[in-house]
Structures are given as C-alpha cells and as structure tokens.
C-alpha cells in the first residue's frame, strides 16, 4: 500500500540516474560471472578489479547525476517510472553508493596475493553487486531479496572455506534474521495498518541481528575470526542494517521503538569497545571495534534529530572508510606474518613505517580524532545522543574513549617492538596508493566537511520530515523528546 511504502515522492523530474544503477547491477553480476570463469586466479583477480573499477565509475555517475538533476530540496531525486522506490538515488545514497563501490575497489586492490584461492575475488564482486543493489533501492521487497542474497553469499563463502564453526554460528543468526526481514518487508509492502506493528517488530529483530547489536551480536566476532577477512569486512562495513533502518524503520516506527533500539545500540557501543580492549586476537578486537562503531551509527539514526541523523551518516562514512583501511592493514600484515596476537609486540614499524603511520591515522579517525572526518561525526553524535538520552548519552563518550585505547593498543602491538625481519616488506605502490587515498579522503573531509555535511543534513531533514508527515512526531533539529503524540502508524 502506498501509505506504508517508503515515500519517495510522486511526479519527480526524470533524470538519468536509473540507467546508471541498472547498469551497475548488470555490470556487477556479469563481471562476477566472468571472473568466476577466468582461467587462472590472477586473471580472476584482474577481471574482478576491472569490474570493481567500473562499478565505482557507474555509481559515482549515478550520484553525480542525481545531484545534477536538481530536484526540489529535501525530496528524493529519482524515482523509476511505475514502481516508486524500486530504484532510488537520493541525498542519502548519492554519497553512500560510490563509497561502497570504492571500499570494494580498495579491498580488491589490496587483496593479499598470498594464499589467494579460486572463487575469492569473484565472490567479492558478486557481494558487491548485491550490496550496490541494496543501496539502490527503497522498495522493501527488493531490499529483502538483496539482503537475504548477501547473507546467503556470506554463508556459502564460509562453508566453502571449511569454516564450519563460523558457518554454523552465522547461520543460526543470519538465517532467522533474513527470514524476519523478508516477513517484515512483505508485511510493509502488502499489509495494512493493523499489521504495521508486526512488520516493525520483524524488521527490528532483523536489523538488530545483522548489525550485531547486543544481545544478538554473537555471530560477528566468530565470522571475523574464522572467516575470510575480506568478505567479513565487506559484509559488515557498508552497514546494510543501518540502511534498512533508515529506509524502512525510520519512516514508520514509533518513537518508543526507536528509543529502545537506540538504547540497545548505546549498550552495544560500550560493550563492544570494552571487549575490543580486552581481546587477544587482532581479528576479534577488530570485530568488536567495528561492532561498537556501527552501533554508534544506529544510535544516531534512532535519535530522530537532524543533528543526530547527520552525525550518524558522517560517522557511517568516516568509520566505514577508516575501519576498512584498518582492516586492510591487519590483513596485509597477516598475509606476511600469520595471525597476530595482541599480547605481543610484533615490531612492524621499521620495516613498514608508512603502513604504521596510515594505521595510526586511520585508527584515530575511526575514534574521532580532531582534524579528521570522524571528529565531525562524533561531535554531532555526542550532542544528539545526550539530548536524546540525557544520562545515557555519555555512553558515546565512554565508547569512544575505550575505542581509542583499543586502537592504540593495536597500533603498538602490531608495529612496536624489536624489528621483525619477516615484516620488512615495503608496501607495493598500489597498496600505498589505496591507503593514501583513504587517509586523504578522511583528512580532507575532516578539515573541510561542509559539502558533505550540507548534503547529509538535507538527507536527514528529508527523512525526518517524512516521519513528521506521518504524524509520528514533529520535525525537530535537536532537543527534548516530543510530547504526547505517537501515532502507531500511518495517519
């Protein structure tokens, strides 16, 4: 029903974004297929790289085109004719889409060649195509299909690697989550106001599991620890769960539901940060760090204020880039040295001083160091969290402090210590280029955040205006909880 489907606005000016999006999905799928059928691992990798590069171009074009089309402020810029919301690029995704593609490109570029196996690169490209599909749509059903497919892809990947434990754990969490999402999305698309509560509940459960929110987070450390690090990073980093929350939950969920999610997210942020500090295995520490940061994003989304939502989006981008870079560093080091124990000093600095510096900058960005994009996001988020949950909002401050400690601990463990001759392997040019690009983005974005912020702010306002239009609560920029009126559903 039109009432419950996400409103993307009727009668919008036509623009050319849709073809780019369709093109991206097609290119992605075809590219994955071609890569899979490549004659050798090297050829597979090359084809995967080309596909990823093409996808970056296509999604960037979609984003640029969407901005160029110049729709009225605050409305989504594109709607495919006939099925509203099927293919959408609006202010929310005009930056996210190219970002997602870029992250994939970065990972594929830095993919360790050591121990590369058939099917890895093509699997990553397929996952990319599915993720791009997720971010290209606001239609609940298409979203559900892509969501379930990407989860299935991860499970297949785990099974093929023989990571039985991770496979089973992930399956126990992700299969019900995907089912719940499908049910919720269907109810949202075809149901009535009477079934709205059930739909919201199903969607909430699905999102909580996928994002690894306490107490549904059990699968995340396992998958990061035992799975293919690359696919684990790329499964989590785009934050499909956050996207679903913004597209499907934010327009319809009640204030109380969002408050509850926000509180759980804040608990997760602190818990993840604390666990990250206490971990011995680098991958697990990384997993908890990621869990904590992505929980902060969800907390910001659920704060339902413009500042909070904007902050969440900024942290989404900054953490996504920074943590991908961090993960890549760990991966690059592991490829040279094997699993890294955080209780020991590995002495990587003298052999790889640039990588050490990049790691430090990326890590500090992720935890909101002044001068980086992370700081901008964190300031906004902290302000909004405290307005929303007065005492509890300080959880953001605690989580960030702990995450900072965890990052420095990782840095010192990986790079300090007696020089390890096996780690004297300078970065290759493409690796160096990738890291430099990531860091450059974050620093430039941190020092001159205005363009990004203006577009994020518009996106936030548009989304919250939608909520207000449905009678959920009046639009507010930041401030105390709205009084009284919570409509349980559409007006």
């Amino acid at each position: 029903m039109a009432d419950l489907a996400p409103a993307v606005g009727p009668g919008l000016p036509e623009s050319l974004s849709a073809p780019w999006l369709v093109g991206a999905s097609v290119v992605g799928l075809v590219g994955a297929l071609l890569a899979r059928r490549a004659p050798s691992v090297e050829a597979e990798r090359r084809r995967a790289l080309v596909t990823a590069a093409l996808l970056t171009l296509l999604t960037s074009a979609a984003g640029v085109e969407a901005a160029r089309a110049g729709a009225p402020r605050g409305d989504p810029l594109v709607a495919w004719l006939g099925a509203p919301g099927l293919l959408v690029v609006d202010e929310l995704t005009s930056a996210l889409l190219p970002l997602v593609a870029m992250l994939w490109l970065a990972v594929l570029l830095a993919l360790p060649r050591v121990r590369a196996r058939r099917g890895e690169a093509s699997g990553l490209v397929l996952a990319e195509a599915l993720t791009v599909a997720v971010f290209s749509t606001a239609s609940p059903l298409l979203l559900a299909a892509a969501w379930a497919a990407s989860a299935a892809l991860l499970l297949v990947d785990l099974a093929r690697r023989g990571a039985t434990r991770a496979f089973r754990v992930a399956a126990v969490y992700l299969v019900p989550s995907s089912l719940a999402f499908v049910v919720g999305a269907s109810l949202l698309a075809f149901g009535s106001p009477a079934t709205l509560d059930a739909a919201v509940l199903a969607l909430v459960v699905a999102v909580l599991v996928r994002k690894g929110i306490v107490p549904f987070h059990g699968w995340m450390p396992e998958v990061f620890e035992s799975g293919y690090f690359g696919s684990a990073i790329l499964f989590g980093m785009p934050q499909v769960g956050s996207y679903a929350a913004v597209r499907l939950l934010l327009p319809v969920a009640s204030y109380d539901v969002l408050s509850a999610i926000g509180l759980l997210a804040l608990v997760t942020a602190v818990y993840g940060a604390a666990q990250s500090v206490a971990q011995r295995d680098t991958r697990r520490a990384f997993a908890f760090l990621f869990m904590s940061q992505s929980a902060l994003v969800l907390a910001g989304i659920d704060s339902t204020s413009v500042a909070g939502l904007t902050g969440a989006m900024v942290v989404w981008i900054s953490s996504g880039v920074a943590l991908t870079g961090l993960g890549l560093t760990v991966w690059v080091l592991e490829a040279r040295r094997g699993r890294l124990d955080l209780d020991r000093l590995h002495g990587g600095h003298d052999g790889m001083p640039r990588l050490a510096a990049m790691f430090l900058v990326l890590g500090l960005t992720a935890v909101g160091f002044p001068g980086t994009l992370g700081f901008v996001g964190e300031e906004l988020l902290v302000d909004a969290a405290i307005e929303r949950y007065p005492a509890f909002g300080f959880a953001v401050v605690v989580a960030t402090a702990l995450n900072g400690i965890s990052v420095l601990r990782m840095y010192l463990s990986l790079f300090a210590g007696p020089t390890d001759p096996s780690l004297v392997a300078p970065l290759r040019w493409r690796e160096r280029g990738v890291f430099f690009a990531l860091v450059g983005l974050l620093l430039v974005g941190g020092l001159a955040p205005r363009p990004l912020l203006v577009s994020r702010e518009r996106a936030s306002e548009a989304l919250l205006r939608e909520r207000a239009a449905r009678g959920l609560e009046p639009l507010r920029v930041a401030g105390a909880a709205p009084d009284g009126e919570h409509a349980a559903g559409a007006p």
Binding site: T164, R165, R168, V169, V172, G218, P221, A274, Q275, V277, A278, R280, V306, A307, T310, G311, L342, D343, L345, G347, H349, D350, P353, R354, A357, L364, F369, P370, G371, F375, V376, E379, L380, V382, D383, I386, F394, V397, V398, T400, A401, G404, I405, L408, R409, L412, S413, F415, A416, G417, P418, T419, F436, P449, R450, L453, R456, E457, V477, A478
Partner: protein, 462 residues
Amino acid sequence: MTDLIAPLVLLAALPPLVAVALLGLALFVLRRPRERLTSRLTVGAQAISLAAHVALVIVHAAQGGTPRVFSFGRWFTVADSSFEVALLVDWLALVFGTLTALVAGVVSAFAHRYMHRERGYHRLFLLLNAFVGGLLLVVYAATLEVTFAGWELLGVGSALLVGFFHEREAPVRNALRVFVVYRIGDAAMMAAAILLHHELGSGAYEALLGGMVGAGSGTTVVGVLLVVAAAGKCAQLPFSGWLPRAMEGPTPSTAIFYGALSVHAGAYLMLRVAPLLASSPVAAALLGVVGVATAIYAAVVGRVQTDIKSALAYASLTQVSIILVEIALGLTWLAVAHVVGHSLLRVLQFLRAPSVVRDAHRIERALGGRPAVDQAPLGGLLGEVGAARLYALALDRGHVDEWLDAWVVRPFLGVMRALDRLERRWCDAIAGGVGPAAEPRPPAPWLSEPPEAPRAEAGSNG
C-alpha cells in the same frame, strides 16, 4: 591595531600544526627524507611562532592588555550544533604560549644534535611538532571544544613520545598506560564540555568570565570532571604512576616535554576555568585535596630515587601538585609565576641530567669536599623502624600502580574476558562443539608482560 592581533595569534598558534602536516606529507612521499628538511621545517615553524609571540606581547601591551577573543568561523554547523573555532588572547595565554614556544625551541635545538643520524629522527620531530601544536592550541583556545581538540592531539603526541624507543617493551607498555590515563581525562573533558553547553549555552571561557556561572549541581559536576581531566595530565594521584615510568625511555629533550610542559597543561586548564572553581567549592576542594596528597606522596617517594630522571620526575610532580593547590586556593598569579619558574628550572635540570655526576664532582671540587648531608627531620620523628618502613613503601612507589592494576585494570579485563569466554561457549554450543575450544591458552597479562615474571614493577624502572 585590532587587526594585527588576529593574524598574530594564528601565526603564534598554528605553525607547528602546519609543520606536522607538511612533514607528514613529505615523510610519506619521499623515499629518503633528509634531516635538513625536517629540521628546517621545525626550526622555521618555531621561529615564526616565537616571533609572533614576541610581537603579540608587544601589541597586547600596547592595547592595554584587555582579553580579546577572535572567532575564525565555524568549522562545521548542523542545525543548532556547531563547532566554533575561536582563539583568545590574554596575559595568561601569552605567558604560557611564550614559555611553550621558548622551551620547544630550546628542546628542538638540543634534539637536533642528540638525534643526529639516529633512526627515529624524523619521527621525533613529527611528534615534537604535534605535541607543541596541540599544547599551543590548548593555550590559545577560547572554548572548551577547541581546548579538547588540542588536548587530544597533545595526548597522542605525548603517548607516542613516551613510547619513542619502541624497540623495547617497557617504553611501549608505559606509552599505553599513559594513553589510557589521558583517554580517561579526554572523556572527562568531553563530558564537561557537553554539560557546560547545557548549563551556559556555550562552551566559551568568556561565558565563565562573564559571571554566568551559578553554584548549581551542574557546575559542580563540570568542575569535578575538569579536575579529573587535569589530574590525568598532571599525574595526580591515583594517576601518578605514569610520569616516572615515562622517564625511562626517551631523550632528555622529550623528558622535558612531559616533565616540564604537558604537566602544566592541566594547571593551565584549571587556571582557565578558575571562575568555575570559585563557584564550586566541591571541585576546588577536590583539586586541593588531590594536590596536597600528591605533593606529599611525590616528596616522600622522590627522596628514595636512585637515578636522576626519576628524581626529577618526582620533584616535578611535587611542584605541580603545589601549583594545583595554589590554584585551588585562588592564588592565580602565584601559580602562574610558579609554573614559569618551575618550567625553566626543570628544562635546565633535564638538559643537564646526563652530566649530573660530572656536575656533582665539580661542585665537590669547588667546595673542597662533600657537602654535609642533613639528617632528614622525618627520620628523627619516625624512628628507625618507621623510617625503614616508609623507605620501603617509597621504594615501591606507594603501590599506587599495583593498586590500580588490582582494583581497576584486572577486574575490568577479568569481567570482559569472562564474558568473552561465555560467548565462545555459547558459540561452541551452537556450532555443535566444532572448532576451537574456549581460550586454549592460560590467561596472560595485558600487552606483553611476560607471564612468568613476578610482579616486580615497583622501583625497577630507572
């Protein structure tokens, strides 16, 4: 004349930050960076900064010395949340700023020779510039947010300087400990900044000076949080462990940085928020009590140290604690004079530290024999057994670190690791018992302490 101060303040505060950016870029891009490039960038930045300081002093005096605040726009704004970049110039800032620029210049000159052809030459100067840049930002900040930005930069720079000789374990462990303490202070400061916003509608120090501060519970909480932040930087109890440990690794020059400069950052913060302390007796009392306790602690422990840098560290700590007490009592300008004198004395002492034995011999020769050693008054009071016990306690540095480890660090890690084991067991159950069992290794201490070494932290650094 007004127009002069704004650019001067930028020239005084920003050059080290610019040097960091340029140096970072150069080090990343160049295959073999030359020492000359690094030293020239550093010297250039410091010369500009020092010259700007001198000019600022003159211009400020010519303008009658009224405090001025300069807003350089908003870094970012969303809805009604914004970060304003504002710097302030008054005598307090100028005194601290000039002192910092001066000491930084001296230290850089020293380090340039000391670190010549050493492996970490460029890294040292990068960190040095980051440290000085952060400190100058703290000094000239007009709002708590800008202070926070500088404070964090200062913290990271300090921690990495502590761990500068990172081939050895001890400096690295100390670096992490320092960073943990700093991070707690950072969190306290961020919380204080947010609460101040709520109380006064702004985080600007001007608002404090404007007498908008009431004596409500909100003010007290802000005051206490800021005291905690300052206590971390100033190595007050219970955070005192890091300062003497930090002396182990680095060169005398870097020892100056956190022995004579960053320990005063906390004092500076307290001086800035003096109106807040004045209207919150609880916060002022906390500061005073902590200061007195730390002064006594440092005075006693400092007397049993057997190496010069540790002795100087505790001497520094004693003086800083006294300075904080002076601030708590509202004796602002006494505290400022104390800081200046203390800083300069410590710079001299740290720089002469490597030659302390030779200096002692020269003094002896000039005096014609060893100077007589007075019986310490406390020894007479306590009697032999009491004095021996006190001596042992002092050697163990009051067990402060052990206490923190036993009551804070280990419980925290213990709880988290227990929860982690539970999670693994849960995953074991789900996975049908497949895969690695929970925690195959016995619990190991945090970050590279060898599991079989006895708890012999106390007094062994030196």
